[in-house]
């Protein structure tokens, strides 16, 4: 029997489950990159720096923190190491975390186009829509992983350097350490969710160019621009539509009862950005010529 006979008469029968192979392959190739590990390493180092700085400052006999100075919750860290998780997430969410997402998302399609591997994925055939979905999904996995790296590193450093115990919420009520931990987990989830907008934006930028570097730089540049715009009182009218606008609303999970308004605003805004920019990425990617 000749080789060709085996497959004559159409495509091989395929199980729908086999489609997941591409997603798994995307996730593994994101995490096997040296660059990804370096980004996660930097993110893991932030809580260490913050924790050590707080320890040194208080070890010198000075009062722990001053209200209004430094990242949120920093004054509570000395009393309860768990607060290092909240402080670290508040410190990394404005720039470090979204920058890492911008790098991974920006490189996702453009990097493969630059290397030429995109054409081989497409003739495999990955399918343009399926490939784009797998790219976005793996970027979202990275969002979650990056957030968890910050949270877990902060928890470890906090437990090592500071006492752990009952958590005093912003609203003044005390909850057990266990519940505090659960709230920390929920906050990590909200922070990861806060990143899906910029992930979609980065994916879209990535479909526009054949240079991974250009796509990463553009995405990070957009992030910085938008963050600056969010600070100007004159731009008050547009700020509710800027994707980072409600990012720090995760602190509302540390109230009893929880303030849901801004948390929901954030979720809606992220979903909107994700839908708009993923659609734009799809429209672009499914119609473009792949010549690199």
């Amino acid at each position: 029997m000749s080789q060709a006979d085996v497959v004559v008469g159409g495509a091989r029968a395929a199980s729908p489950l086999w489609q997941l192979s591409l997603f798994r392959s995307e996730v593994t190739s994101v995490f096997r990159r040296w660059r990804t590990i370096a980004l996660l390493g930097v993110l893991a180092a932030v809580p260490v720096l913050v924790g050590v700085a707080v320890k040194i400052e208080t070890g010198g006999g000075g009062a722990a923190g001053h209200d209004g100075a430094g990242p949120a919750f920093i004054s509570q860290v000395t009393n309860n190491g768990l607060f290092l998780v909240f402080t670290s997430l508040a410190a990394t969410l404005p720039f470090f975390l979204p920058m890492a997402i911008g790098v991974v998302a920006g490189d996702s399609v453009a990097g493969e186009a630059h290397a030429g591997t995109l054409r081989y994925l497409l003739v495999a055939p990955a399918g343009r829509t399926r490939l784009l979905c797998a790219k976005y999904a793996s970027t979202l996995v990275f969002c979650l992983a990056a957030t968890l790296v910050v949270a877990v590193s902060a928890l470890a450093v906090g437990a090592l350097l500071f006492p752990l115990g009952d958590v005093t919420l912003i609203s003044g009520t005390d909850v057990s350490f266990g519940e505090g931990l659960l709230r920390a987990l929920a906050i990590a989830g909200v922070v990861a969710l806060s990143l899906i907008g910029i992930a979609a934006l980065g994916l879209f930028v990535s479909t526009l160019t054949n240079s991974g570097i250009a796509a990463m730089a553009t995405t990070v540049g957009l992030l910085i621009t938008v963050q600056i715009m969010d600070q100007f009182p004159q731009l008050h009218a547009v700020q509710p539509y800027l994707f980072p606008h409600y990012w720090l609303s995760f602190a509302d999970l540390l109230r009893a009862p929880v303030y849901w308004d801004q948390l929901l605003d954030n979720a809606r805004l992220q979903a909107l950005y994700a839908a708009v920019f993923f659609s734009a990425a799809w429209a672009r990617f499914t119609s473009r010529d792949v010549t690199s």
Partner: protein, 317 residues
């Protein structure tokens, strides 16, 4: 019968045209017919539109106008149905430098939704064996030589049994030994019944392995057919061996033979199109030219190409 024609065709295009955004027409109203089971040489100098044609056939770029069918289904519409049955090497290999050779193949195989994950490792191993890379499979691809990268690219095209293999300049950058290996591989695959579509700017390569060929220049198809027919369509040069070279030249000129060249005791020239060679010989003998040998030199594909374009082959870029 249109239908049976397309069934017999591994590739059939109709007035296929591509203008890139720069405005230049890279492929101009191409009508290509690649029979199933052939080893088809797609010949043309650099910049003649070979890669652009292959990109359209593989659904990577959209044609500006015209249509293409691959394995009987329209492209790019039937990409997901057709491409699992096609292996391709386009514009040289492209690999993930941070992955090993084996993991590169695993990645490309994972991208094929018709590839069974349970047999993935075995198929990857077989493809590595087939191109002789088994020993280097654990090395990072960035450490591969160009020849090894080319082989790994070929291995990716051979992960599944294919009905059609599309190889865009597969011997580019290889040493003579590597070129020979690729040719052997192509012959083996063809013997298995796989249609091989092979682009090249090297004439002798096409002549050595192909049963059929098409010739491109500046985006246009000049001719296509079996290699034998193409070569014979260019008439070989008339060659006469004689001690009386000056008389021979005079007589042949009278008979309408052009471009006469004398080297030692050999006279060669282009016989006019409608001309019986026996009459030329008779004229020579009649004029008492002593003829030691008389005949035509076998025409090569290169002669055919020169006849078609009026220029040498490796001219452009």
């Amino acid at each position: 019968m249109e239908e049976t024609a397309t069934e017999r065709a591994a590739i059939a295009t109709r007035a296929l045209t591509k203008r890139y955004r720069g405005g230049q027409t890279a492929v101009d109203r191409l009508d290509l017919f690649v029979p199933r089971g052939s080893v088809f040489g797609f010949l043309g100098p650099n910049g003649s539109g070979k890669t652009t044609t292959i990109r359209m056939l593989m659904g990577l770029v959209a044609p500006t106008s015209g249509s293409a069918e691959v394995l009987g289904a329209p492209m790019p519409g039937a990409v997901r149905r057709v491409l699992p049955r096609v292996g391709a090497l386009i514009e040289g290999p492209a690999l993930y430098g941070f992955l090993t050779g084996r993991d590169n193949l695993v990645r490309f195989d994972s991208a094929d939704p018709t590839a069974d994950p349970r047999t993935r490792a075995a198929r990857v191993g077989a493809a590595l064996d087939r191109v002789g890379l088994a020993a280097a499979a654990g090395k990072k691809a960035r450490a591969y030589s160009l020849g090894m990268k080319q082989r790994l690219g070929l291995a990716a095209a051979l992960l599944q049994p294919r009905e059609l293999l599309v190889l865009d300049e597969p011997t580019n950058g290889l040493d003579p030994q590597g070129m020979r290996e690729i040719r052997t591989l192509v012959r083996e695959l063809a013997a298995d019944g796989t249609t091989v579509f092979l682009s090249s700017h090297l004439l002798d390569e096409i002549e050595q392995v192909c049963t059929h060929a098409a010739v491109m220049a500046r985006g246009r198809l000049l001719t296509q057919g079996t290699v034998a027919a193409l070569a014979s369509s260019a008439r070989g040069r008339l060659a006469v061996t004689t001690p009386d070279t000056s008389d021979a030249v005079r007589v042949l000129k009278e008979q309408g033979v052009t471009d006469l060249v004398v080297v030692d005791d050999r006279v060669t020239g282009d016989a006019p199109g409608a001309c019986e060679l026996a009459d030329l010989n008779a004229a020579l003998v009649h004029a008492r030219v002593r003829v030691r040998a008389f005949g035509t030199e076998r025409a090569s594909l290169e002669d055919a190409f020169v006849a078609l374009t009026g220029e040498g082959f490796d001219v452009a870029g």
